[in-house]
């Protein structure tokens, strides 16, 4: 039996979105049940008077008086509902999830508020309003990307429930949740480093790195590089000077490639699309977003250059760049990454800078992503494949479905084994991805030349 996975830590981040109240008629109508009950009290009063029975006449006296009072105070005017602007509730909910603020305003005293999310029913409450009120709305989800927080159906209710307003038009709050980043340890580097400065030591001669060799002084060498000890030992008469030469510093170029063609949850029954994945389950695309954002942060914090491409949709990639703003750019692009229609087949893999490290995030449920990764590897790139398929929950499946999942898993395992045979390094984004990435990074360091894969 497979257990549900712990959701990834993800503080929700909001993107500003304007939400305005819709116009409405402001018509109030008497509630049928209450009006009829008041009429029955009036009938009792009449019957009691006609029959000379004071005890019958007073039976409904109190509700009748209150009904007349409620009728006299029947509200007039529109009852409005809207979600507060995103800036006002930008703080994440302490209990996790997404938070929005629903504002109610109108002449009623109560309001019936029914919230739903992606057409799945949520809470249904009858609250006291008295002209205006704000209500926090909390959606429990671990999903990232563009999504609906809640849709609220609101109806104003008059005094004692005697009258009801026309239902306010449904109001919806949508947002884009940016993926969070997890802190990683060491990260693998590409086969070749680029540039003349950066966080890594290259094999080229230069400055800033470790000792490369000791060489006779030549025109162009700086005098402060002269190693006087070596010079004294090798040339006591100072006919020749020796200088210490160092390795140059360089930066790595990393291209993150997200396969957005699949967005599957841990329950295989949801893969056909008829059932939606549970909001508490992170889908493969959520995991891909989180993994890519974490790696981007790790590389950018180290001073490397990171770019982003999408295997599922042909659009302009995020070119490699460095700095904090590049991380923001990548996180936003990741959040907006979603399956879009029928994905086009790639005749050639997307172009990546020469010598770049390619990190591909995919479920590897079909051959396309594996084929593209192999092509990159053949072209000489170091390729790391990150498997983002969640741990599957098969306990509730029928036998035939379990068999289908088993066949799919076997095919996928074969495909990934073949990838490893081709020289693609594999990481599973599940239990301890930071440790797996550190193993990859250290494996490369054991070989001559930093970042050269096996």
């Amino acid at each position: 039996m497979s257990l549900p996975e712990a959701p990834p830590a993800r503080p929700p981040t909001w993107v500003r979105e304007e939400v305005r109240p819709a116009l409405q008629t402001g018509r109030w109508t008497p509630a049928l049940a209450v009006a009829c009950a008041s009429a029955a009290c009036l009938v009792l009063l009449l019957l009691g008077v006609l029959a000379g029975r004071a005890d019958v006449a007073v039976l409904g006296a109190a509700p009748l008086v209150l009904a007349v009072r409620a009728l006299a105070r029947r509200p007039a005017g529109a009852f409005q509902a809207w979600f507060e602007d995103a800036d006002a509730d930008a703080q994440p909910d302490p209990g996790g999830g997404l938070r929005a603020t629903l504002c109610l305003e109108g002449p009623g005293v109560w309001a019936n508020v029914a919230v739903r999310r992606q057409d799945r029913p949520g809470a249904d409450v009858l609250v006291r309003v008295r002209h205006a009120r704000t209500l926090p709305v909390v959606a429990r989800t671990v999903r990232t990307g563009p999504q609906e927080v809640a849709t609220a159906d609101v109806q104003g209710v008059g005094l004692d429930g005697a009258s009801v307003a026309d239902p306010a038009p449904p109001v919806t709050r949508r947002t884009v949740v940016l993926p969070s980043t997890a802190r990683l340890l060491d990260l693998p580097l590409p086969t070749r480093l680029r540039g003349l400065n950066g966080p890594h030591e290259s094999r080229r001669p230069g400055e800033g790195g470790g000792l490369r060799d000791v060489h006779p002084w030549a025109p162009g060498d700086r005098l402060r590089r002269i190693d006087w000890r070596v010079t004294a030992r090798r040339s006591p008469d100072l006919r020749e000077l020796y200088v210490r030469r160092e390795h140059a510093q360089a930066e790595a170029v990393v291209v993150l490639v997200v396969d957005s063609r699949d967005d599957v949850g841990p329950d295989p029954r949801t893969w056909r699309g008829a059932l939606a994945p549970r909001p508490q389950d992170a889908t493969s695309l959520d995991r891909a977003r989180q993994a890519a954002a974490s790696l981007a942060r790790g590389y950018l914090d180290g001073g490397d250059r990171v770019g982003l491409d999408d295997l599922g949709v042909r659009r302009r990639p995020v070119p490699p760049g460095g700095g904090r703003r590049q991380l923001d750019r990548i996180r936003l692009a990741l959040a907006l990454t979603a399956p879009e229609g029928e994905p086009a087949a790639w005749l050639r893999p997307p172009r990546v800078p020469s010598g770049a490290l390619v990190v591909m995030f995919s479920t590897f449920l079909d051959d396309e992503s594996a084929r593209v990764a192999t092509l990159w590897r053949t072209a000489g790139h170091r390729v790391v494949a990150v498997d983002v398929l969640p741990a599957l929950r098969t306990s509730a499946l029928y036998d035939r479905e379990r068999l289908a999942v088993r066949l799919m898993t076997l095919t996928r395992d074969d495909r990934m084994a073949e990838l490893v045979d081709q020289g693609v390094e594999l990481v599973t984004w599940r239990d301890q991805p930071a440790v797996a990435l550190r193993v990859l990074a250290r494996r490369a360091q054991r070989r001559p030349g930093a970042g050269v894969p096996g």
Partner: protein
């Protein structure tokens, strides 16, 4: 293994024909996916149970009024009518309950003051709860503030009604005179006129 229904049996066969939504995981005990944070609330089921209880109590008190005993079948029907507002509160069944109680009291001997006071209170509780229940579904949570809303006015009205009930109880022994009937008619006409001809700005609220 069943030949007709396959290896998963009849249950799977039925669920397959009901569609994928029938196999959606049940979420009993789980909080709703999207929630609204309010003050203290009570479930609508509790409210409806209280409504049913008050309705049945009103019917039972009315049935035990002095006079000819109510047959068992009629009492059963009366209890059903008393339960109806809790089940279908949006339909005008509360009016039916009020009429049933009133007609029963009309057919019985004049009620003692204590019975009358209890009936006045119970019918008021039923009508107040029915007004709230009519705005709820089975899953609705009702804020306690809604139930407490405008409670002083309800207490004042109830106190007045109890005073009238006391007077009515005392007067029930005496023969009803023309003056009483005339007063009653004036009250009825006044209430009807007030309900039908609602001024745009009532004179009693002109000072607000």
């Amino acid at each position: 293994m069943s030949v007709r229904y396959g290896s998963e049996g009849l249950g799977a066969w039925v669920l397959d024909r009901l569609g994928p939504a029938a196999r959606a995981p049940r979420r009993r005990g789980e909080p709703p996916e999207v929630d609204v944070r309010t003050g203290p609330t009570v479930p609508a089921v509790t409210l409806r149970a209280a409504l049913a209880l008050a309705g049945v109590a009103a019917v039972v008190v009315a049935a035990t009024a002095p006079g000819r005993a109510v047959p068992g079948s009629v009492l059963g029907l009366m209890v059903l009518v008393a339960l109806a507002p809790a089940v279908v509160p949006r339909l005008p069944v509360t009016a039916l309950l009020v009429l049933v109680v009133g007609v029963r009291l009309l057919l019985a001997e004049p009620a003692p003051p204590l019975v009358l006071a209890a009936l006045v209170l119970l019918l008021h509780v039923v009508l107040r709860l029915a007004g709230v229940a009519a705005r709820t579904g089975w899953r609705t949570r009702v804020e306690v503030a809604v139930l407490r809303d405008d409670l002083p006015a309800a207490f004042v009205a109830q106190a007045g009604a109890q005073g009238l009930a006391l007077v009515a109880g005392l007067a029930s022994g005496a023969d009803a005179g023309t003056g009483w009937r005339l007063t009653g008619f004036v009250v009825v006409l006044g209430l009807v006129a007030l309900a039908l001809a609602r001024p745009v700005r009532p004179w009693w609220r002109s000072g607000e």
